[in-house]
């Protein structure tokens, strides 16, 4: 027993030594003309599809900035680079990795992860460490009522996603003499639940009646029970939100069960690739999007939105979903902030970020006091003849709303 303990204490000492060597090894940093950004994104786990879109967006942004000579501060050219970790699609890991990026890798500028849940987990860490974070994939309203000072979001918040769809339903249904019936199916995660709050608030304001309010589990594989309810209660508007998974499943099962509903609105259609996967069955679906390649925004790095889309497709072999676009734009925002601040001090960069007012291929960017982008509206697509057509806002519409969706027997 005695020697046993010698062993253990020797072991403990060895461990302590090992731990002490660590900080030294992490001091070996990138060369001094590179600005390191840090990001934990979902490369594995349930958000990995969108996590990869996010990473691709960041990488493309970095590549283009560096090709344009990087960032100039006091006449010195800096290249940008990102240090990635995989958050495994779990908030706990995300927060731990943010901690690690800031404290061990000495990252001074953070990029957001994918998804509201993980952004919610990382934001307190960056806030407490006073490190700015520009994020492009956390739209939950709850991120912007906490008074975070170091969080900047490029995207429109969740309350705006499907507001145009509700407005369209109100407009098209105004001749009927009863309250418009709304059915909602939302996945049980921070993002989708926020969409739910937004849609129902808008619906109530317009005097609509909520007939179905279902939550879907995160391990979603069947929504037929809910769709049976839709058949029974015949709503005028069906809203579905459940990331890429929810979108794919909804289209499939609605077609399979031949659920007739005059208007179907959802999120994440393009990242789910519903047109490619389901063809004709996806027709008439309304989709919320942060961005579209037909919008006429432009900037000096990418050119127009269409140029970005072409470059993205050339680089990664698929059409850019808006997650890719907004992530690439996040890099542009940082580049601009560095040049504005003319400093690498995180607080100065933060202040420059707060003053951001710029146009990118992705849209105009200007942050309000809470750090959300107020200069860019959402767009609403409709799937028409195998393509996404913008139907709202009218300013950019390149298609006319097709309403109501015909019965399945006539499609």
């Amino acid at each position: 027993m005695k020697t046993n303990l010698h062993r253990i204490s020797g072991y403990a000492a060895a461990l302590a030594v090992a731990l002490l060597i660590l900080p030294v090894s992490s001091l070996v940093m990138a060369s001094d003309n590179t600005i390191m950004l840090g990001a934990a994104v979902s490369l594995t786990g349930k958000y990995s599809t969108n996590g990869k879109h996010t990473k691709n967006g960041y990488d493309l942004g970095i590549k283009v900035i560096n090709e344009h000579g990087g960032v100039v501060i006091h006449g010195k050219h800096y290249k940008l680079a990102v240090k990635y970790y995989d958050d495994e699609s779990t908030p706990a890991r995300g927060a731990a990795l943010a901690e690690r990026l800031i404290n061990q890798d000495h990252i001074k500028y953070m990029l957001g992860p994918y998804g509201s849940g993980i952004t919610k987990a990382i934001a307190p860490v960056t806030e407490e460490n006073k490190i700015p974070m520009v994020e492009a994939n956390g739209a939950s309203l709850q991120l912007f009522n906490k008074g975070y000072k170091y969080l900047f979001a490029l995207l429109s918040t969740t309350d705006q996603y499907l507001a145009p769809a509700v407005a369209l339903a109100a407009k098209e249904d105004k001749h009927i003499n009863r309250p418009v019936k709304v059915a909602g199916v939302f996945q049980n995660d921070p993002f989708s639940q926020d969409i739910r709050a937004g849609v129902f608030a808008d619906a109530k304001k317009d005097g609509m009646k909520i007939v179905i309010d279902d939550k879907l589990p995160a391990d979603l594989n069947d929504m037929s029970a809910t769709l049976t309810k839709v058949k029974a209660l015949k709503p005028d508007l069906l809203v579905v939100s459940g990331h890429a998974k929810g979108a794919a499943l909804a289209i499939r099962q609605i077609a399979e069960m031949k659920v007739n509903v005059p208007m179907l609105a959802m999120t994440h259609c393009d990242s789910a690739g519903i047109i490619k996967k389901f063809g004709k069955e996806a027709e008439y679906t309304l989709c919320a999007s942060q961005w579209d390649h037909t919008l006429n925004y432009k900037d000096k790095y990418f050119g127009t939105a269409q140029h970005f889309a072409d470059l993205f497709k050339k680089t990664y072999g698929y059409e850019p979903p808006y997650q890719g676009a907004e992530s690439a734009a996040a890099i542009l925002v940082y580049a601009k902030a560095f040049e504005h601040a003319q400093s690498l001090n995180p607080t100065k960069v933060r202040n420059a970020l707060a003053r951001t007012h710029m146009e990118t291929f992705y849209g105009n960017i200007k942050f309000d006091k809470e750090g959300r982008n107020i200069a860019k509206p959402m767009v609403l697509y409709q799937v028409q003849d195998g393509d996404y057509k913008v139907v709202s806002p009218e300013k950019w519409a390149n298609g006319k709303l097709r309403w109501p969706t015909p019965m399945w027997s006539k499609r």
């Binding site: 069947d222 049976t228 069960m257």
Partner: protein, 300 residues
């Protein structure tokens, strides 16, 4: 919740829809459960990776379809591929844990389950995947009861496969060896049965059944790398209720579970459907152990 019950009350036709569709899902649960019962009965191993085998079977079919073949070809191919996977996993891992304690085999198969789920996620991504068979849908009762033809086919095929396996176990030499080993492995070994071969056969057969189930699942429903565990739990529950080695019981319990799950999803809301499955399992287990306790008292 109450309004959902009221809907069923006002439109009873929808309960027909829920029950019919529930039974059709149940057939797929049944296949996986039958495999689990086999492995449990013969080897006394609970294979937590059962659900992952189902998912893997689905992905094989998905791959077959992407190669341009008909999804129906995918059913035998999935079964054969999974048979092979089962064989390899048996030779690498399971044979080391067959005669060790329960916890070892549970944890080892849990490890395999995590490994497979993550590999699938790495290879195919985390998206929900489906395969369209283009077989259309049948409508009854004023379009209120919808039955996808593929689900009916899945149902029939699942029953046929179950029956085939039952015949195989009854008639063939290998089947007889499997049954003998289940009754008493030591005696079987003494009588000249290569029990390790039999175990390997059993485990692979179970995997093949899961492969077929997964193939049907990807056509009739949807698969996703992380949906394995619910299938494992369902199989476990079915076997606990039906008893090991009771084919009719497994079929009935499978169909019953499908119906119960579908109705629960409707009444409590979809967010509690998975919770319902797991709580039902706990309820089943607790009932079982209480009943057993009572029996023990009687014996005393």
């Amino acid at each position: 919740m109450l309004d959902n019950v009221l809907i069923l009350f006002h439109h009873p036709v929808f309960s027909v829809d829920l029950i019919v569709n529930g039974m059709l899902i149940g057939a797929i649960f049944m296949l996986a459960a039958y495999g689990m019962a086999l492995v449990w009965g013969v080897m006394d191993v609970i294979n937590i990776a059962q659900g992952e085998f189902v998912m893997l079977g689905g992905y094989v079919t998905l791959f077959v379809v992407k190669m341009g073949f008909s999804p129906l070809v995918g059913i035998p191919i999935s079964a054969i591929v999974l048979f092979g996977v089962g064989w390899v996993i048996y030779r690498l891992v399971i044979f080391r844990v067959v005669e060790r304690d329960v916890f070892t085999s549970l944890l080892a198969t849990y490890g395999i389950a995590i490994l497979l789920a993550q590999l699938l996620n790495e290879t195919f991504g985390a998206d929900v995947q489906t395969v369209s068979t283009g077989m259309g849908t049948w409508f009854f009762l004023d379009n209120n009861v919808t039955v996808a033809v593929i689900k009916v086919m899945a149902f029939v095929l699942a029953l046929a496969l179950g029956l085939l396996l039952w015949l195989f176990l009854k008639k063939s030499r290998t089947g007889q060896a499997i049954r003998a080993t289940a009754q008493n492995p030591r005696a079987a070994r003494i009588l000249g049965i290569d029990t390790h071969h039999t175990f390997a056969m059993t485990y692979s057969l179970s995997a093949a059944l899961c492969g077929a189930a997964g193939s049907l699942a990807v056509m009739a429903w949807a698969i996703q790398p992380y949906l394995g565990l619910p299938y494992t739990v369902r199989s476990f529950m079915i076997v606990v209720v039906a008893g090991v080695g009771n084919l009719i019981g497994v079929i009935l319990a499978g169909l019953g579970l499908g119906v119960a799950e579908n109705l629960a999803g409707f009444v409590f809301g979809a967010e509690f459907q998975i919770a319902f499955v797991f709580l039902l399992m706990i309820a089943v287990l607790v009932t079982r152990s209480t009943l057993l306790r009572r029996q023990r008292k009687y014996l005393r």
